[in-house]
Symmetry: C2
Subunit: 348 residues, 2 copies
């Protein structure tokens, strides 16, 4: 228990611009080398393996790999390997395992099994000395420094940037577009008062729905996870299309909705969903470009000029992490120490 | 709006044994032919595309394909094709699209794009005359008859059985183990009083957590969706391992938990999670073998003797569909006509 509730989480959120800068300056050359070595092996499919926050980072990588490289991807159902002993033929398959700690036994076991089954294995972790890094053929260090708060924040944005640079490396790009991120992250993080005001809206919320499409969808899932694990508000993340398939019944005057609207094709594909929500009188808060915020009940305007859509998730999550923190403080709980959460999850 | 609330949904749930029997007797030969033709093409990777209830059926197929056939699988992030125009190389890739109506424009578009990109395409629908069936190289008819209630029930179990027989066909099996299902389904459906009693537990619930591992995980997701779209209770589905990664903080004395415990390796892998939940004093209802129900707060004992683990999902969902129905009736709402739900979702 920290002395001042949320002190550790707040400190780690504030480190994010420095972490992003470190990855761009110190991490990028090594990431490029790893990407070049893997590109030379010409993988045909990619499987991504992760849990919790890292699973949302893996989903971001899935969008990048499918859209930028046309590589078909899947997210691993880990129990098929660890509980059922499935041993698929993984020739030409790149298996990327994302884990902050690199210590979860099931991730280590499934990565080891993948390597034995012929996969090219890459671990993306915050710990180069971890068992996961040891069993993987390749390793990328996300350089976020020790993370002590139980809700992961800086390791999430660090994983996103590392994965972005990796995918850029696979297609021979230099990732230069990412250079604007550290300064923009500083700007976004400085607007804490705006987030605190939004948080008051959810002080007594009994549930929340978070929606997006395309590159913003991993942000919606990560925001929901962050809200649940800190404030215990049941927060349901849906892709905009899935929301129309049923759970929309839950929205009317019952659930406030947060929409993560990217400035690009994902945001455009979300428009019919936003129109439906507005038509139903939903309480709609938007995180996205200012034009979208203005058409909603309230929101947080992100700087998106000069930021390609595929990099916007690294900024989008910042006000939403802060929102989870502020709502939790407002409810008299400690964001640093949610009940029951252990930093390394020992499922096997 | 039906005259008697829930009359249509109740009727369609009751049809399930007859639908299962029809698939086994009339549908199986054609499914075997399709499977043989696709097996001859030796797909190396499978992508599954679906939304809503069908997405949970697709997830069940993912477990079957990975465990029984060692085929690496992924669930499609549809917007990468429909919003971003990704055109991956899908040579040697089997793309399975599952859709009750076969009419959603985005599913039709993404299946068409997959076929143009070299994929072997298979549509699994309840409508052989649908646009989806027309654009796919192969089609399997799930033979469930018209489904009129907005919450899908009989098309879910029909999709599961059709997919089971397809995967059996891919590996040259005859699917004989499934023959016990129609009679067992009749038995399970006859125990409505037990489900009504369980439903009273959730009359005033403000949220629910549903967990499982392995083959039971799609059941957990489908049960959560059914509860949400009929009763509007926020029901959160987690794999047991993911639950320990954060959302467990939500459980203490706040959220009742339903665990779907298969009689097999998935259920075994869930045991540490069940122990944690019991240790925390959670209200735990189990759907699974009677030994597991006895160790819980309450539950619904499934007949699992002689039912292989990979077929249990077809029985497991039956009391949970009924639970969604009973909770909704108890809350004074109409399960046949949830607000805002359309039978064919027209996202593009």
């Amino acid at each position: 228990m920290s002395q001042q509730p949320g002190r550790i989480m707040a400190g780690e959120m504030a480190e994010q611009p420095a972490v992003l800068r470190r990855i761009l300056q110190e991490g990028a050359p090594r990431i490029r080398e790893v990407a070049a070595a893997i590109a030379a092996r010409s993988p045909r499919f990619v499987l991504l393996t992760a849990r919790g926050t890292s699973d949302n980072a893996a989903l971001y990588a899935k969008y990048l790999l499918e859209i930028q490289l046309g590589l078909p991807c899947g997210l691993t159902s880990m129990s098929t390997t660890t509980a059922y002993g499935a041993r698929p033929d993984l020739t030409d398959v790149l298996v990327i395992t994302v884990s902050q700690s690199g210590g979860s036994p099931d991730l280590v076991a499934s990565t080891k099994a993948a390597r034995e089954a012929g996969a090219i294995t890459l671990a993306v972790t915050n710990n180069p000395d971890s068992p996961l890094a040891a069993v993987s053929e390749f390793h990328i260090d996300i350089l976020a420094g020790p993370e002590k708060a139980l809700p992961a924040t800086k390791t999430y944005t660090a994983s996103l940037l590392a994965l972005y640079l990796f995918v850029e490396g696979l297609r021979g790009g230099d990732g230069a577009a990412a250079k604007v991120l550290p300064d923009l992250a500083t700007q976004v993080l400085s607007r804490q008062d705006e987030v605190r005001q939004l948080a008051s809206r959810y002080r007594f919320a009994e549930r929340m729905v978070i929606t997006s499409r395309g590159y913003g969808y991993p942000t919606a899932k990560e925001a929901a996870l962050k809200l649940m694990e800190t404030s215990y508000i049941p927060a349901l993340a849906y892709s905009g299309a899935d929301l129309l398939h049923g759970p929309l019944a839950m929205v009317d005057n019952i659930s406030p909705v947060i929409a993560v609207v990217t400035d690009g094709k994902g945001g455009q594909a979300l428009q019919p969903v936003l129109d439906r929500l507005r038509g139903r009188g939903a309480d709609l808060v938007v995180v996205g470009p200012s034009s979208q915020v203005e058409a909603a009940s309230a929101g947080f305007a992100l700087p998106t000029d000069g930021v390609p859509e595929d990099l916007q998730p690294i900024l989008e999550i910042l006000p939403l992490q802060r929102l989870a923190y502020e709502v939790t403080i407002a409810r008299g709980q400690d964001p640093d120490a949610p009940r029951a959460l252990a930093k390394v999850t020992e499922t096997s």
